[in-house]
């Protein structure tokens, strides 16, 4: 009899524990994507929204602390941070045990544990040319033997997944060793990047014809329903490990305190179901949020005036509904690059540098922020945006808006004004600056602002509208004179932005074809230093100064995200790199 009661007590305890840990299926979060996703095979997709979903489905070895700012790496499936040896070339990683993939027919009814070989396989997929991965650049040339495997696959037409790659070995079931081709302190960021989440080989092989439609990972959610470009439904992964919400608030941050008070000690995830609708039109998203059909909304720029007052505070109609606002600067920077191989704009002679800097000083950035962005941008002072390692809040761009100085510079270097008010080149030949642009309404707004700004300093600017792919092709061939672009952090380190100026990256990511020996030397030095090194921080500032003195970019702004949050949503905080915030959130009953 005693044993019966012991058994019954144990069973009851198990039931209570199970109910405390399981995500509640009744908690349904409804959100919207403004752009359609493309699929959910981590190796094949590169768009933000597909990767947002993947972040909830697949587990990377490392991730970021939900609350820490600036973003801080923490282990995810790794049992502790990597052990780095060999002067930064070898990374040894131990996996946590007892992590299981979400159930799938490919596992034939068995519970499938995550092992080190899954990561080896997942990384190999990026080197397989047949996958044509948009993120192959993150491992190319970095892991010993991987490029050779790619070359072999090109010759044979098939990637050999069974071949051993010396730089990427599963030492045992739970131990993984990466050997890099050179010292690389940024490699942990690769390990935390969403695309490097673990997939199971048998799943990929079972659904080889459409891997985009069958994402199976070890993350907190699994794909329940997918109506392409319309609706994505995620449900909590029943095999998800016991993970407790235990993040530390930033000191003196009231928002963090509220988040911690609401979430601390809860199991992850709390929300049982996430319904994502693809709603492309901003009016439709806005009205859906107004009708309480969405729980969270990034305020579309056209509706900022209906959400915020002049001081960017929530309007009373929202506070009356207990809606809260979270404002965050995105780790992104807008800029216009100059082509350093262009006969009019390019080169390092003084008059060319003066021309580029004058154009930068002549651009009315304040008008962009006030009129086009409706004050939902902050001026970028460095190519490295706020919240990213290397950003210095005290640094100021040397090419601030100053049309008077821009005119003086151009006068001084012989860019004389003609009868029509436009300047000529110092040799008297006509000077026309061609700016590549898109065909959307917002592109026309930018073009008008550029035209007005350049007219004020006598620079004739002509706009060449075209398709993104065509402009990109021309830029990579160093054939675009100027083009406005933006770069969003792949990882929260200044390197991700500084590599855009690195000479050898011309034709890859250095679309301005800027090649400065001084800059390249500093950049190469920065690669050998630890991310928390003081010297590296100073190098970022020196590199910034160099590109600004050379006039490599006309630096614009970083966007501000205004997130409206219904009162029943708990634990929201926008992370600069992570996007599937709902993994760490909870819901109360709707009112």
């Amino acid at each position: 009899m005693r044993s019966f009661w012991r058994f019954a007590g144990g069973l009851l305890a198990l039931l209570i524990a199970a109910s405390a840990t399981a995500a509640d299926p009744a908690k349904v979060l409804r959100i919207a994507f403004p752009v359609a996703e493309t699929g959910f095979d981590p190796v094949k997709v590169s768009d933000l929204y597909s990767n947002t979903v993947n972040e909830a489905i697949f587990d990377t070895l490392l991730t970021y602390d939900y609350l820490a700012r600036p973003a801080k790496l923490v282990p995810k499936t790794a049992d502790g941070m990597p052990e780095i040896s060999d002067g930064g070339r070898t990374y040894l990683i131990h996996l946590k045990r007892g992590i299981y993939f979400a159930p799938d027919p490919a596992f034939k009814g068995q519970k499938r544990e995550l092992v080190a070989e899954d990561y080896v396989y997942s990384f190999k997929r990026f080197a397989d040319p047949s996958n044509r991965s948009p993120y192959a650049f993150m491992i190319q040339g970095r892991i010993e033997g991987l490029d050779e495997a790619t070359e072999q696959a090109k010759k044979t037409g098939k990637f050999d997944y069974d071949a051993v790659i010396p730089g990427m070995v599963a030492l045992d079931k739970y131990t993984l060793r990466f050997k890099l081709t050179k010292v690389d302190y940024l490699f942990p960021y690769t390990l935390a990047h969403v695309v490097f989440g673990a997939v199971a080989r048998e799943v990929i092989e079972a659904y080889a014809n459409d891997t985009n439609a069958h994402p199976v990972g070890t993350g907190p959610y699994m794909l329940k329903e997918w109506r392409r470009a319309a609706r994505i439904v995620l449900e909590a992964n029943p095999n998800y490990r016991q993970e407790v919400w235990d993040f530390q608030p930033n000191a003196d941050d009231a928002w963090d305190q509220r988040v911690v008070a609401a979430m601390k000690g809860k199991t992850i995830p709390q929300i049982g179901r996430v319904e994502i609708s693809v709603i492309e039109e901003s009016q439709s998203r806005w009205l859906a949020f107004n009708r309480k059909e969405l729980d969270l909304l990034a305020v579309p720029p056209t509706f900022v005036g209906e959400a915020l007052d002049d001081q960017n505070n929530l309007l009373p109609q929202w506070t009356a509904q207990n809606v809260t606002l979270f404002r965050a600067i995105d780790p992104s920077v807008g800029y216009s690059f100059f082509n350093f191989r262009d006969p009019i704009l390019g080169g390092f002679t003084k008059e060319k540098i003066a021309l580029r800097r004058a154009i930068s000083m002549g651009y009315e950035l304040g008008q962009e922020i006030a009129v086009i962005a409706k004050h939902q941008e902050v001026q970028a002072q460095m190519p490295i945006p706020y919240g990213v390692v290397g950003y210095d809040p005290n640094y100021r761009d040397v090419n601030q808006y100053d049309p008077a100085l821009a005119n003086k510079l151009l006068d001084y270097y012989g860019y004389k004004r003609g009868a029509d008010g436009y300047r000529t080149l110092p040799d008297g030949k006509p000077m026309v600056i061609h700016m590549a642009t898109g065909t959307a309404a917002i592109d026309r707004e930018y073009s008008e602002l550029w035209k007005r700004s350049m007219d004020a300093i006598g620079v004739r600017m002509i706009f060449d509208p075209g398709k993104f792919a065509d402009h990109l092709k021309a830029a990579k061939a160093c054939q675009l004179m100027m083009w406005q672009a933006a770069w969003t952090a792949d990882y929260p380190d200044g390197d991700n932005f500084m590599q855009l100026f690195y000479g050898p990256n011309t034709g890859e990511s250095n679309n301005g074809c800027y090649e400065s020996k001084a800059f390249d030397a500093m950049y190469e030095r920065s690669l050998t230093l630890s991310p928390d090194s003081v010297e590296r921080q100073q190098l970022f500032i020196d590199m910034t100064r160099q590109v600004q003195v050379d006039g490599a970019w006309s630096l614009h702004a970083s966007p501000i995200r205004n997130q409206l949050i219904r009162p029943w949503v708990l634990g929201y905080k926008k992370h600069p790199i992570l996007n599937a915030d709902w993994v760490y959130m909870d819901l109360e009953p709707r009112s």
Partner: protein, 312 residues
């Protein structure tokens, strides 16, 4: 009749070939190189070349054209370059939502327009006729975008009569809940031009001698209008309707976008934005085929409606 149909089908070949050549060369000239987009944020020439090789866009034009022709013959356009989804699956799954809106819309718009046009043609020159024409002219002058924005705001958001946006899994729910407002907007937009056009067709017939003769013989006005006039005016109406039918395959981009309807119109725009040639090729070819087929159908319908029509 069968000889005529066979001849017309045979004549479709050069037309289709013209469409194929036009689509192929337009896309290759202005479509942009998809490899640069698919290669991602950071890519080198080798990766781009690898993608171009896999997509087949590095092949000589005549080889690519040959592949295109083979795809048409086998009705297999492969997979989308950006999502890897089979093109056939894209068409099958997106066509349903578009047709759920556009088929009832076309039927209702046609019936209502014909009824109203007959009525105003009958009272031509009256105050009612003038007022209807003024309303139609005003209605015609307003962009569909305005109707969508205003109707979505007023009827869906403010009054709550319809959902703001969305699409479900059940056909009945989609038709009567989610498609109702899009259909209403479509009706408002299409009835005005249809009514004006059909009115002119009916007025042309009302002034014919056979109408006067029928009246002289004492035939009722209802019979004159609904039987004699409608039948004789039906040929231009059929021509107009048949010309509109292939548009069903394209969906209504703006309506689908604002109401988040996962139809073919949105898919076309997505494909163009992503330089997704397989999807664009398939849709263009099917629309061209549908256009030619409905032209043939229109000719056959003329014969059915008016036995005096000779098919040669």
């Amino acid at each position: 009749m069968s000889a005529y149909i066979i001849r017309r089908l045979w004549q479709m070949l050069p037309t289709m070939l013209g469409v194929v050549l036009l689509v192929f060369f337009i896309f290759n000239w202005v479509g942009g190189d998809p490899a640069y987009v698919l290669a991602g944020k950071i890519s080198n020439q080798e990766q781009i070349d690898n993608i171009r090789r896999q997509l087949g866009v590095d092949q000589p034009y005549w080889v690519q054209l040959g592949i295109f022709l083979k795809q048409i013959v086998t009705a297999d356009f492969g997979a989308s370059w950006s999502t890897n989804e089979r093109v056939s699956h894209i068409l099958l799954t997106r066509l349903g939502p578009s047709l759920t809106v556009l088929v009832p819309l076309t039927i209702l718009a046609t019936l209502i327009s014909i009824g109203l046009a007959l009525a105003v043609a009958y009272v031509r020159g009256s105050f009612t006729d003038r007022m209807v024409m003024i309303v139609c002219t005003v209605g015609l002058s307003i962009s569909i975008l305005v109707y969508i924005i205003v109707f979505q705001y007023v009827f869906a958001y403010k009054l709550g009569w319809f959902p703001v946006q969305g699409w479900g899994d059940s056909f009945i729910q989609n038709l009567f809940v989610y498609a109702s407002l899009p259909i209403l907007i479509g009706l408002v937009v299409s009835i005005a031009p249809n009514l004006r056009l059909y009115r002119t067709f009916f007025l042309d017939e009302i002034n014919q001698d056979y109408v006067r003769t029928a009246r002289a013989k004492g035939v009722s006005e209802n019979r004159i209008m609904w039987i004699h006039v409608l039948r004789n005016a039906s040929i231009p109406i059929i021509t107009f309707l048949m010309a509109e039918l292939p548009g069903l395959l394209l969906g209504s981009f703006l309506i689908e976008r604002f109401f988040s309807i996962p139809g073919i119109g949105r898919e076309v725009i997505l494909a163009v934005e992503r330089s997704d040639f397989p999807v664009i090729k398939a849709i263009t070819v099917y629309v061209a085929f549908a256009t030619i087929a409905t032209n043939l159908l229109a000719d056959l319908t003329y014969k059915a409606v008016d036995p005096r029509v000779q098919l040669k």
